[in-house]
């Protein structure tokens, strides 16, 4: 356990090192937040209460999306390109020799990264957004705590998906195609384009039960106080269920890969 905590701390520090890049990311998230907030205002202006959100809630959703975009790696990024490269070059053989579990190791790295992205890239755009737009941020610290739990579960689900994507490189060698598919699904089904309840008809219902809704839609609804009591427990159970299922799938794939695939390299 201590090992994985150290690995997670390393992941955090690694991203914290590039302060200028963090600043640049915050700047970009803020610009996109402003642009999207205005488009949401135009939409909610005509359809107040669209998807069950009022305008301040919809605007909060926009800024949450910007805050969680990097944290939950909705557009990919983070450990998977590194792992894919290690699989391609054969370096992964060294990783498998280590007295640490491959999946847990990278999970720790990714949790460290996510913690930094939430603090470094999540808070400032949100604050800057709240200066200009009226947001529906909760006053109750317990809601914020509930939100943090949902985000953590979301990061684990996101990790589990990207781990599967990375392992595909054992067979495909080039992980670019799989990573691209994951990016498309992540952007679309996480609710990054628009909140999932706004999606028309069956599309919205399907999107809500796919794992990607754990990345943004559920944490956002938790923060906006849409899930309370048993409903909150159900939301957590949904996220945790996907996390366990996808992590287990990653385990199975990992054991198949290490047993059947000849690693490259000389």
């Amino acid at each position: 356990m201590r090992l994985y905590i150290a690995v997670a701390a390393g992941g955090f520090r690694r991203y914290a090192t590039y302060r200028v890049a963090t600043f640049a990311g915050v700047f970009t998230n803020t610009v996109f937040g402003y642009i999207m907030a205005y488009t949401y205002m135009a939409l909610w202006d005509q359809r107040p209460r669209l998807g069950g959100y009022d305008l301040p809630e919809a605007l909060t959703y926009v800024w949450l999306g910007q805050a969680l975009l990097a944290t939950c790696a909705m557009m990919g990024g983070g450990f998977e390109s590194e792992l894919i490269e290690r699989i391609r070059t054969g370096d992964v053989a060294v990783d498998l020799y280590r007295p640490a579990d491959l999946q847990l190791w990278w999970l720790a790295v990714d949790l460290g990264r996510a913690a930094f992205h939430l603090l470094g890239r999540g808070i400032v755009p949100m604050v800057l957004g709240s200066f200009v737009f009226e947001l529906a941020l909760p006053a109750d610290p317990l809601t914020w705590l509930a939100f943090l739990v949902a985000v953590t579960l979301g990061v684990v689900v996101s990790f589990a998906i990207r781990f599967l994507v990375a392992l595909s490189a054992f067979w495909l060698m080039d992980g670019a195609g799989a990573a691209q598919m994951a990016l498309l699904a992540g952007l679309f089904f996480s609710g990054m384009l628009l909140p999932l309840p706004v999606f028309p008809g069956a599309l919205g219902e399907v999107a809500a039960v796919l794992p990607w809704s754990s990345l943004l839609q559920i944490p956002a609804d938790v923060l906006l106080g849409k899930h309370t009591g048993w409903d909150l427990a159900a939301a957590y159970a949904f996220q945790a269920g996907w996390a366990v299922a996808l992590l287990a799938a990653g385990r199975v794939l990992q054991s198949v890969a290490t047993r059947r695939v000849v690693v490259q390299g000389g």
Binding site: Y18, V20, A21, F23, A24, G25, F27, T28, V31, F32, Y34, I35, Y38, T39, M41, A42, L43, Q46, R47, L50, D174, A176, G177, Q180, M181, L183, L184, L187, F188, L193, L194, V198, F199, P200
Partner: protein
């Protein structure tokens, strides 16, 4: 890869009837640069085409991910008939012109976003040693043909909007269309070059550039009435992105300019494009002069 690069360009230049031109004049220098750009691009295209299936997949992925912007607009229009007072075909026209202009700039100059990483790891030095303008080399660096995906979806939406719009196509309006797309691409191109120049100083801050390129393009997909007047003023007078499509498109669509500027501004894009290029060129020179290698 490097040795392969040399081999490929040497081979291609041998095929060309044109001889090497001494850089005696500015025009010759420009021609030189463009030729070098073309050769490097041709090399990367050939390299891309070695993995044809991979190219098709990444181009389709590029198409899909950039088309999400329009999917968002379609999802919005599942609930409303107009946004900011604009109907779907009108917004599609704004989207199509902006995405096509940006798609062209992104295809031709997109690699410039990588300059920061070259400055950071010191590999820019290699480019400085070659007898080819650095700008041409950086612009063609790892030229990614898959970006035709973005251009493709922009063109598709533009074609849809032209079919769906009910406009009186006077000759002036028809001529506005190529003028907008070309000037818009040049303005975005200037932003790419200026952004790259900025990276000579702020190597890790390359993402800031995305705010003005990708962010600007996202902004221009929506009508100016959606945004606050200050934001519209900012992209008119500070970073003149409004000239990419807003100003001329409002004229074509017969819409009021929210800033109340005279109709004549609709015809300014070519002029704005030239000024932007001049400024970007100055920024590029200043940046290149300020370059200090990592020295490690």
């Amino acid at each position: 890869m490097e040795s392969r690069a040399e081999g490929a360009s040497a081979e291609t230049s041998a095929d060309l009837p044109e001889r090497w031109i001494p850089r005696s004049s500015r025009r010759a220098a420009v021609r030189d640069g463009l030729r070098a750009y073309g050769l490097i691009v041709a090399m990367w295209v050939r390299s891309t085409m070695t993995y044809r299936a991979s190219f098709v997949m990444t181009a389709l992925g590029n198409f899909a991910v950039t088309a999400f912007d329009f999917v968002t607009i379609l999802l919005m229009f599942a609930h409303v008939d107009s946004l900011g007072g604009y109907a779907l075909p009108e917004i599609a026209f704004l989207y199509g012109t902006s995405a096509t202009a940006f798609g062209l700039a992104d295809l031709l100059l997109g690699p410039m976003g990588r300059l920061g990483s070259r400055v950071r790891d010191g590999t820019l030095d290699t480019l400085l040693l070659r007898p080819v303008p650095v700008l041409a080399q950086v612009a063609a660096d790892r030229f990614a043909l898959r970006r035709v995906g973005r251009l493709g979806q922009g063109v598709l939406v533009l074609v849809y909007s032209l079919a769906a719009l009910d406009l009186d196509w006077t000759p002036v309006r028809v001529l506005m269309l190529p003028m907008m797309v070309i000037s818009g691409a040049v303005i975005f191109g200037a932003v790419f070059v200026a952004g790259a120049a900025f990276q000579f100083w702020a190597q890790d801050a390359s993402e800031v550039q995305n705010s003005f390129t990708y962010g600007g393009q996202t902004l221009l997909q929506y009508p100016p009435t959606v945004f606050s007047k200050d934001l519209v003023r900012g992209v008119t007078f500070v970073v003149p992105l409004a000239f990419v499509n807003w100003m001329p498109a409002l004229y074509v669509l017969g819409r009021e300019d929210p800033l109340g500027l005279p109709d004549a501004v609709a015809f300014l894009p070519p002029l704005v494009a030239v000024v932007c290029c001049a400024l970007a060129g100055l920024a590029w020179r200043a940046g290149l002069r300020a370059y200090r290698s990592t020295g490690s």
